[in-house]
Amino acid sequence: MAKIRSKEVAEFQARTPEDLKIFARHYAALVVRIGKILEMQGITQAELAKRMEKQPSEISKWLNGEHNFTLRSIAKLEAELGEKLLYIPKPDEFVVIKNSNVTGTSRRSSREGFSGKFISTEQQVEGVKFSPRAS
């Protein structure tokens, strides 16, 4: 998380509901990811609109921040683009988080949650706490 150095901003953010912070991060991340996928695949908004049988203006709203995405519309985009937009851990899966970034996942073998060091098969990640599975 970015470090807030301004006292007046810190005081303002102390009153910002947590769900709003989460929504803001998800929304911007989603729009940016979609934009990058389109760039990588060389697809214009007009082409995407045609493929999805939607009006170009509607796709433009999706990609320019004038649309509240539903799970259904995210699924349609994933299907059309062939790329994951949303990742939700499986019921028995842990997400390894370091410095607010997901750095790995792991299946747990027991019903108990735990915290401590996680050693992946690729590299050792120290001081990382397992977060309990999303409910």
């Binding site: 970015a2 901003v9 803001a24």
Partner: protein, 185 residues
């Protein structure tokens, strides 16, 4: 050499620091609030606008700083004469690169004036509620835009003249001293 400008003496202050960018605002000498602080202070608590203020604040101070950097897809040109901030060695220019933050909520009702110095440094000023589509029709907003432009030009000049240097970690004075609380005269 102290030069008195219309906007007086002001200080560059860090609002937030993230992995991808440093967000600054300015505080005019003798003012209790920074320019960005004035923007936040205008947030009418409990109103329908409050959520918009808070979303915009998170975008600017958290997401641009930590996730995206100063990504121009989040900005909308504010109708100023455009030009990238020149390097200290470039010919003097009197153009600035002003933008308005554009957030992703249907019919987003706010404007926030800012100056993207680089993909690592953003300076945010004041703004407010959009009361008309054309800013020229809103005299208070137009005044804030001119104030922001004036600050941006002076910062641009300070960069051009080598007084401050933008780096990946923020602004530094020409002697390499601390980037915090840089005063421009």
């Amino acid at each position: 050499m102290e030069i008195l400008h219309n906007m007086g003496i002001f200080t560059l202050e860090i609002v937030s620091e993230g992995d991808m960018a440093t967000i600054y605002t300015i505080r005019q000498e003798g003012h209790a609030r920074s320019e960005y602080g004035k923007f936040l202070a205008a947030c009418p608590d409990g109103s329908s606008l409050e959520e918009s203020y808070r979303l915009l604040d998170i975008l600017v101070t958290q997401q641009l700083a930590d996730d995206f950097g100063v990504d121009l897809r989040f900005f909308r040109h504010e109708g100023f004469v455009m030009g990238l901030p020149p390097s200290p060695k470039a010919e003097p220019q009197d153009r600035t690169f002003m933008k308005e933050v554009n957030w992703f909520v249907p019919g987003f009702p706010l404007r926030l004036f800012c100056y993207p110095v680089s993909d690592k440094i953003l300076i945010v000023f004041n703004g407010g509620e959009k009361k008309s589509q054309k800013m020229q029709e809103d005299s208070k907003m137009e005044l804030k835009r001119r104030e922001a432009e004036s600050y941006a030009k002076r910062i641009n000049n300070a960069i051009r003249d080598g007084y401050i240097t933008p780096s990946k970690d923020g602004f530094f004075l020409e002697d390499g001293e601390s980037q915090e609380g840089i005063t421009l005269y």
